[in-house]
């Protein structure tokens, strides 16, 4: 039966996340936007709290580990599980602050990757690690088949060499999920991911980037020089299956894209919530029944923004719900990411415009959200990459046909 409300069973979790976002993240939001690269020590306590929640099972598996697909669950009708609760709680945390959320200890994208593809034994071994994700290199961004970091089997270890950039939480994490190729001549199929811990000799954080937004989150350049990684740290199958190609590595994205979409949804809602209030104080109230063209231009604009936002939110929930119900969702995940990414930019930038210099000033957070949102239309697959994926699926075209 059609029902697109936030599930009742997740209501409490989301309310909790909202309180944490409001009372823990917002008060330090501007502080770490200004003090880029300074570690938000307040988050250690939060991390302990999240661990406690996860242990007690009260979190419904929310957070980075929530993307694991439970293959053994019995088939019993409609399921609202950890994928849905994860996107909802991530959105709520990002309503608080995207940058801070991205630097939650032990909640890195690497953790999501491990949760998505690791074996049970690996899952146990990497329990409690804070894992970042290292894909991008200086010579490529979206074209992740171009990985030139190498992994060469030598005895029981892989030896990894290369340079990774744009590693979110690269400095603060204790391990890194590194994408490297076993044999560049074999193309995509040879690209595998490895869990590299920071204590392995040859791993070096070179520097942290200065950025437009999400400044509370560190973005590192990391080099790998003859890093010996035990072969049990390879995620997924070590075989080079040319037929399967990239699918294994890319499967992670089906799980993480709804999360990034959720970040965009949360960030945009922060702007909408505040702007609605500021407009009301300025004498503009949104009337849902009266046609937009009969209201003030500001109200009409707000209606458009809110409608787009609601679409982003529902597409994100749809993608997560499909994952919970074990339906293939890479089309829907990309739709959600594409819509949420562009909507977050439109919403946050328009809200600055609606609020005038109040919105532009650092005295409010609207200008910060308008900077933070931009990355959400870029990482984990840009707007254009999502459109490519959606177009290929809808049109039934291969990547050779639709380049």
């Amino acid at each position: 039966m059609l029902n697109l409300e936030t599930p009742k069973k997740h209501r409490m979790l989301i309310d909790q996340a909202h309180q944490v976002a409001m009372n823990m993240l917002r008060p330090i939001s501007r502080k770490y936007d200004l003090a880029e690269h300074e570690y938000p020590k307040e988050l250690d306590m939060l991390a302990a709290m999240i661990d406690g929640l996860e242990e007690s099972g009260a979190s419904e598996g929310a957070g980075a580990t929530g993307v694991r697909r439970d293959e053994t669950a019995a088939e019993t009708g409609n399921k609202n599980g950890s994928n849905l609760s994860s996107v909802l709680s991530v959105a709520e945390m990002c309503w608080g602050d995207v940058g801070l959320m991205l630097t939650f200890p032990r909640q890195g994208l690497g953790n999501s990757a491990i949760a998505s593809v690791a074996t049970d034994a690996q899952l146990e071994r990497f329990k409690g690690t804070w894992a970042s994700m290292a894909i991008t290199e200086p010579a490529f961004g979206s074209d992740s088949a171009q990985v030139s970091t190498t992994a060469v089997l030598d005895g029981d270890d892989y030896v990894i060499n290369g340079e990774k950039i744009f590693v979110t939480s690269g400095e603060r994490s204790d391990s890194i999920v590194v994408w490297a190729t076993l044999d560049k001549s074999l193309g995509r199929a040879a690209i595998k991911s490895f869990v590299v811990t920071k204590d392995m000799p040859g791993v070096k954080v070179e520097r942290c980037e200065h950025k437009l937004g999400i400044r509370a989150s560190d973005t590192a350049v990391i080099t790998f020089t003859d890093v010996r990684v035990p072969k049990e740290n390879l995620l997924g199958s070590p075989e080079i299956d040319v037929k399967q190609g990239f699918a294994g590595a890319m499967a992670t994205f089906d799980n993480t894209r709804p999360l990034v979409a959720a970040m965009a949804v949360g960030c945009a809602r922060a702007s909408l919530d505040l702007t609605r209030d500021l407009l009301e104080q300025a004498g503009v109230t949104i009337d849902y029944d009266r046609p937009a063209q009969l209201q003030s231009a500001a109200a009409a604009k707000f209606l458009q923004l809110e409608a787009d936002w609601e679409a982003a939110q529902l597409l994100t929930m749809q993608a997560a719900w499909m994952a919970d119900n074990r339906k293939p969702n890479s089309l829907e995940a990309s739709m959600a990411k594409a819509k949420a990414g562009r909507v977050a930019s439109d919403v946050t930038l328009s809200c600055v415009e609606l609020a005038g210099s109040v919105g532009y000033s650092e005295a409010e957070l609207l200008e910060k959200w308008a900077r933070d949102s931009k990355i959400l239309d870029i990482f984990e697959g840009t707007q254009q990459i999502q459109q490519l994926i959606v177009a290929r699926r809808i049109l039934g075209l291969t990547s050779a046909e639709l380049k």
């Binding site: 039966m1 029902n3 697109l4 849902y288 409608a307 609601e310 749809q318 739709m335």
Partner: protein, 454 residues
């Protein structure tokens, strides 16, 4: 009209009232008068195309409304009639329709594919739905979809979601025909939602029987910046009843309709009135518009139309009326989703087959990304519409949700119509392909009030 006004060009022919004529302009205008005069016709220089019968394909031709049947008046019981109970929510997020709804969608989809789509082009030209199609739509139960079971309908509970799914499936065939077919059921649904016992007993048997009347929910008015919540049409109390005055537009199949639900201001608040077509003072005029032409759109003029006290449908404090406006907007959203899906279904094989510069045009990002955006925004429209519908069915407040759905469906729906034509290039502009019709139909979203209801 003064001579000065006649000489002014503005206010007619799409000219702003600011336009002025210079001497050359006056000469050209005079020549044009001559060219239009009967003199030329009398000497047989031009073919005559006068039509003596009422037609909805032209405007400016007025006639009385249909004589209509005598609805057997049941009076007295002004208690609230039977209402379908709200649907029970499971509390879980769910995008799967119920089995019953899916069955209904399958039946309607087949009807839309086999019957509606093939009839769409001609119905657009003639501004009329084929009789057979309308008959068939009765057989699949469209008019009684929103009527409670105990009143002879098929809905066990509030049927807003089923209504949305059906409207979407029908519009995937054709929006204009969907509107024509859904109009009588919309009036029946309104009676189910707000009718008194007496009103339901008077009118519903006609809709649940074999000879279902055409009926129209008339809320829109022909005015710029029209606000549906403040209709210019008025209802004044007179004796035991009301006197209605005003003009309604976008009235579906107004010339055939035997029963109207008319929106009018009563004591400063909007209200709904049941008006039978045989009532004195009603006049209907063809009002063919840009699109949705198969719905035989008309204007309905009400001149001192006297109705009884029991003509008031629902309350007089604007609550039923506002609910009606929201549910009608919801139905239009569903129509936009169906038509948007038709566009996507059509352009997908087209761009894969059409070649330019040695390969299918779909191999170019400029083309492929337009298709991707159609798919993304279409699903956005669908989810917003479903959310509003589910809330309505569960008896929750859905004013915010339907407003957002309508905004998105108006904006993105039009974009989809526009891109649908663009993707076919010149071929999209000619009537050999249906995309130009969908372009015209999709402009209705955000403009139309009333007419259809879920």
């Amino acid at each position: 009209m003064s001579l000065i006004n006649i000489l002014k060009p503005g206010g007619r022919n799409g000219l702003s009232s600011r336009e002025r004529r210079d001497p050359i302009g006056f000469t050209v205008a005079a020549l044009n008068r001559l060219a239009q005069s009967d003199l030329i016709d009398r000497v047989g220089l031009r073919k005559q195309t006068e039509q003596a019968v009422f037609t909805v394909t032209r405007n400016g031709f007025k006639t009385a409304t249909a004589a209509g049947r005598q609805f057997k008046k049941v009076s007295g019981n002004t208690l609230a009639g039977t209402r379908a109970p709200a649907a029970k929510a499971s509390g879980l997020f769910d995008l799967t329709p119920t089995d019953d709804e899916q069955m209904l969608v399958d039946v309607v989809t087949e009807f839309a594919t086999e019957v509606v789509r093939p009839a769409a082009a001609e119905a657009n030209e003639t501004c009329a739905a084929p009789e057979g199609l309308l008959k068939a739509s009765l057989e699949i139960g469209l008019p009684i979809l929103g009527v409670p079971e105990s009143l002879g309908g098929i809905s066990e509970e509030r049927s807003a979601t089923a209504g949305v799914l059906v409207a979407e499936a029908l519009a995937r065939g054709d929006m204009g025909l969907a509107v024509a077919a859904l109009a009588p059921g919309s009036v029946a649904t309104a009676l189910g939602l707000w009718g008194t016992v007496a009103q339901q007993q008077t009118y519903l048997p006609a809709f649940t029987g074999d000879d279902v009347p055409a009926a129209a929910l008339a809320l829109t008015e022909p005015s710029v910046l029209f606000d549906v919540l403040a209709p210019a049409t008025t209802a004044e109390r007179a004796g035991d009843g009301f006197v209605l005055n005003g003009v309604k537009s976008a009235v579906v199949r107004g010339a055939e309709a035997e029963l109207f639900v008319v929106g009018a201001s009563l004591d400063g608040k909007p209200a709904l009135f049941l008006v039978e077509s045989s009532t004195e003072g009603l006049e209907v005029e063809g009002d063919p518009s840009m699109g949705v032409r198969a719905a035989s759109l008309t204007r309905l003029e009400l001149n001192d139309v006297k109705v009884d006290a029991d003509a008031l449908l629902g309350d007089a404090d604007g609550e039923a009326y506002t609910e009606c406006v929201r549910l009608a907007r919801l139905a239009w959203c569903a129509l936009a989703v169906g038509t948007g899906q038709a566009v996507l279904d059509y352009v997908t094989p087209y761009v894969n087959e059409r070649e330019a510069f040695g390969e299918p045009i779909s191999h170019r990002q400029a083309v492929a990304f337009m298709v991707a955006d159609i798919a993304i925004e279409l699903q956005s429209m669908r989810l917003l519409t479903y959310k509003a519908a589910a809330r309505a069915a569960q008896g929750k407040d859905f004013s915010r949700e339907v407003a957002l759905a309508r905004k998105l469906c108006a904006d993105k729906g039009m974009r989809i119509g526009l891109d649908g034509v663009q993707l076919l290039g010149g071929h999209g502009f000619v009537k050999e392909h249906p995309v130009e019709r969908w372009y015209r139909d999709l402009r209705a979203i955000g403009i139309m009030e009333g007419a259809v209801l879920v």
